[in-house]
Every structure is written in C-alpha cells, then in structure tokens.
C-alpha cells in the first residue's frame, strides 16, 4: 500500500486521523494543549473536507453531553480535550460508558491544577481510570495516528460498545513534529468501516428511553455487563491491532516489549518516555547491562496477565508513574502492576518511581540510573524503594 510520508505534530496527526475517519458529529471545547486538534479539524469542516457536524459548546461538560446526545442518535461521534477539560467531563464520562456509547476522544495528557500547569503528566487520564473508558496511550505521533484509526473499530465492536480515549503526551507529542506515515483516505475509510451504533433514540418507529433510573434491582447487573465488555475489549483490541498490522504494516497489542526476552532488568513505562527508555536500553546493553522495556499501550482494560508473564523471568522491575495518587504507596500504574503480579504468583523485586509531573523533563541519564538501581537491587546492594521521585530538587 502506498504510504504518504509527512512531517506532523501529534495534534496534527490526530486531526488528520479524524479527517480520514470523517465522523458524523464532533462536539468540543478548546483547551491547551489539545486545542489544535479541533482547531485544525474545524478547518477541515470549513473547507468541506469532512461532512462532520461540528458543535461548539460552552464547556467540556457540555461537549461530552453533546457527544452523548449525538452518539445516542446513531451518529459516529468524536471529541478532543485535555487536563481540566477532561476533569470537567468527569461526571459525563461515566454516563457515556454506562449507557454504552462508542464515543472516541483524543486526550492530550496534561497536569491537573493546582498549581496551574499546562505541561505533560498523566494525572488527568489517571483520574479517569475508573470511568469505564478504554484508555490507549501513545509513544509518539505515529502511534497516536494509528491508535486513533483503530479506536472506532474497538469502541463500536458489538462485544465492546464502550467509549475509547486515545492519549498523547502534552507538548512532547502533541506539539513535537515527527515523521508520520499516513495511509490513503480510501484505505483508512475501508478499515474504519460504516458506523453502526448500538441504538438510535431518534428512530421514531422504535421509540426508546435512554438513561432511565435503575436502582438496587439492576444497577449491579449493568456494571457486570460493562465489566464483561471490558474483558471482551482485550480480545477485540488485539484483533483490531492485528488486522491493522495486516492492512497498514504496523501491528499493535495491549503491551509492547522491547528487548525483554533476555532482560534481567525490566522497566515499565507509558507514553513518550517509552521512547527515551528504548534509547537508554541501547546504551546500557553496550555496557553489558541486560535492560528491557515493557510499554503499556492499553491501560484500560489493564493487561495484568500479559505483564506478569513478561516480568516472571526478570531479576528486578521498575515501574514509572507520571501521576501521583497521593496514597503514600506507589503510583497508579505500579499499584496495578503489583496487583497483577500478586494474582499471577510472580514474586520479583519491584521499585516504583514518580517522574515528570507538570512536565518535569526526564533525561536519558535518569532512566539509565533507574536500570543501575535495579542492578543494585538484584545484587542485594540496595532495597527497592516505592514512589521514588526522579529529578526532584532536594
């Protein structure tokens, strides 16, 4: 297949993906650093490059509410936001997943206030980890583009019917220009396919009520149904990722492993830091340190078994969190990894780190030091610490 090689920022790539998907409706409110996605997309609407009905609203709470109305009316619906915007959507996110609407959202990871900060960390996305949305993280612009093209297929699959958010790291990916391989519009549209919504509230021949009250009698059953959909999502994400690979040449899974096969020391990271870790591994391998990376691409549903299987052979593991949960324990990713290891009966020394909050830079040397600490832990020279801050002024 012909590939179009272009230079694009993460925001441009996500807007291009949306142009190719050509959703029926987008409802959005601007927020740094995600503003550009909808700004560029609004240009596509204005130029007649898409047939999308773009709804400008007065807040993110309204944006997600409008998305729900649209999706419940049988329209393929997408939006984009970040940080405080995602937080303002909080209440409505649970409704979107609860009434099972396959909305797709681009979320550009940015720190939550206070202090007010516009730069990258994962605290906005992590705060919505229990919202019932599928969460896919991107290492770079290419992954952001590719995952956006897969998101509708996953969200709309009959066994899933659950909203999906695809995230990029604020500024690092969203505003960083990279080489991007795009695919022809017609091929993308063929892959994404026609929209077939779960129901249509505007079908006057089959009138329905959406969003009715369900109390102690059946609320519980609805949550179980959602849980099963999340379980099915693991299979569907793999199926779609495989088909994407066959069609466009890049296969995607729940996790990505980099040099883990013979690795003594494995680091777990998400988002753009995974790229930095790969560079660190290359340098450490020259020093004879067998380092590997486990990148979590899909945080919801959480690939616990898959992670435990990779970590089973490691001598020491480091989990990097770009969010604080203020629990006095490890960050959210490390906590989930540990729970997965416990369930799988895998006992491995595990150190957890917090880094990059509010856009604090993470350097190659920082990550190399993490691997060196893992080596010391494995050799019994030090004990694994929890929630150790990397790059803190102290």
């Amino acid at each position: 297949m012909e590939k179009i090689i272009v230079a694009r920022t993460g925001n441009e790539a996500m807007a291009e993906a949306m142009r190719q998907i050509n959703p029926d409706v987008c409802a959005a409110y601007p927020i740094t650093p995600a503003t550009e996605i909808m700004q560029i997309f609004a240009g596509f609407v204005n130029d007649g490059k898409v047939k999308t009905n773009l709804i400008t609203v007065e807040s993110e709470h309204s944006a997600m509410s409008a998305c729900i109305g649209s999706a419940a009316s049988g329209a393929r619906t997408m939006t984009a936001t970040s940080s405080q915007g995602l937080a303002l959507m909080h209440e409505i996110l649970f409704i979107a997943s609860g009434i099972r609407l396959p909305i797709v959202m681009a979320d550009v990871n940015r720190a939550l206030s206070a202090p007010i900060n516009i730069h990258c960390d994962h605290s906005d996305t992590m705060a919505e980890r229990d919202s019932g949305w599928i969460q896919i993280f991107s290492e770079n612009t290419q992954e952001a583009y590719d995952s956006m093209l897969q998101a509708n297929r996953i969200a709309e699959h009959k066994d899933v019917i659950t909203p999906v958010m695809v995230t990029t790291d604020g500024f690092i990916i969203s505003h960083g220009m990279e080489r991007l391989e795009m695919y022809p519009d017609a091929e993308v549209q063929k892959f994404v396919g026609e929209y077939k919504g779960p129901y249509n509230v505007l079908d006057v021949d089959h009138p329905i009520t959406v969003g009715s009250i369900v109390l102690t009698d059946y609320y519980f059953e609805y949550k179980k149904a959602q849980r099963e959909a999340m379980k099915a999502a693991k299979r569907v994400i793999l199926e779609v990722g495989k088909e994407f690979g066959k069609t466009f040449g890049r296969e995607y899974g729940l996790i990505e492993t980099y040099k883990c096969d013979d690795a003594d020391y494995i680091m777990i990271a998400m988002g753009s830091t995974a790229g930095t870790a790969k560079a660190a591994i290359e340098e450490l391998r020259k020093e004879g340190i067998k380092a590997g990376l486990l990148k979590i691409r899909v945080f919801r549903p959480f690939p616990a078994e898959e992670i435990a299987a990779v970590l089973a052979k490691a001598k020491a593991v480091a989990v990097l969190d770009r969010a604080e949960s203020m629990s006095n324990q490890a960050g959210p990713v490390a906590t989930e990894v540990k729970a997965g290891l416990f369930d799988a009966g895998v006992k491995v020394p595990l150190a957890s780190y917090i880094y990059g909050l509010g856009g604090r830079e993470i350097f190659l040397e920082d990550l190399k030091n993490v691997y060196r600490e893992l080596k010391n832990i494995a050799e019994g020279k030090s004990k694994p610490e929890q929630a150790k801050y990397i790059g803190l002024k102290e």
């Binding site: 019917i161 129901y199 329905i208 959406v210 102690t216 009698d217 059946y218 609805y222």
Partner: protein
C-alpha cells in the same frame, strides 16, 4: 409485547439501560398510594376536569349514551395524589379522597411478573429491553 414472568440476569439486560416505549402500561404504579379517590357517578357533571388534571392515565374515558364520557378509575395507575378531588367543581360531591382500606381498590399485580414487589419495575423494563434487543439486533 410478550411479557414473561421471570426476572432477568446480567446476561439478558440490554445495552446501556435502553427501555422500549410503552412499558409503563405494565408497571402498576397504583401500589405507591396511601390514599385513594372514589368517584360518585350520580354527582358527576361530566366536565372532564379530573381527566384533564390526572397526571397519569388513571381516569378512563368510555363510550356513553351521548358520546365519550368519564368512566371508572383505573386504580392500577392511580397514585393517590389527590389532584382530582381538589380540582372537582362539585366540591367533593363527585370525588372523595379516602383512606385506602377497601379491598376492592387493591392494585392488581403487574402483568410482567405476576407478583407485586420491588423488582417488578425492573422486570418490566427489562422485558421491554429484551424486545428492544431483538429489534435493534443488539448483542
């Protein structure tokens, strides 16, 4: 609509709580009331004020000798709100708000479950949902 008397499991409920229309017909809300209005036909002037004010569908319109006229209460849907006696221009001569002690005014069991009880609403809704599932090919 075929109403089956068994309650549904999580596997049977439809996607996202979608409810088919018209299910309230099978959900007898009369069970909520503490008071019940009684109609005295001999004092009724057929002004239809009560019919217009009834927030549910508890006052039936029937075919009379001179055309359509007010019929008996459908107590399955009367929640005892007291609006009809309040609005009656006959000053309680035609409609009285009484304590519900008369066994004949009992609410009949909802048609969905065959038994009155807390789960009946859900059962009715979900039977409706099941139909919605079939209609919309929802898995």
């Amino acid at each position: 609509m075929t109403i089956k008397p068994n309650l549904k499991t999580w596997k049977d409920i439809t996607i996202g709580g979608v409810v088919e229309s018209g299910t309230s017909e099978h959900f007898h809300t009369g069970g909520w009331r503490s008071k019940v209005p009684v109609w005295k036909k001999e004092n009724c002037i057929q002004c239809m004020t009560c019919w217009a004010f009834c927030p549910d569908d508890a006052i039936k319109v029937v075919q009379g000798a001179k055309g359509k006229e007010r019929g008996e209460f459908d107590y399955n849907f009367c929640k005892g709100c007291g609006i009809c006696p309040e609005e009656c221009p006959q000053n309680n001569k035609a409609l009285k708000d009484l304590k519900a002690k008369d066994a004949s005014l009992k609410v009949s069991p909802s048609t969905a479950t065959g038994v009155p009880g807390f789960d009946e609403k859900a059962a009715i809704l979900f039977v409706g949902l099941k139909e919605a599932k079939d209609k919309f090919n929802i898995k």
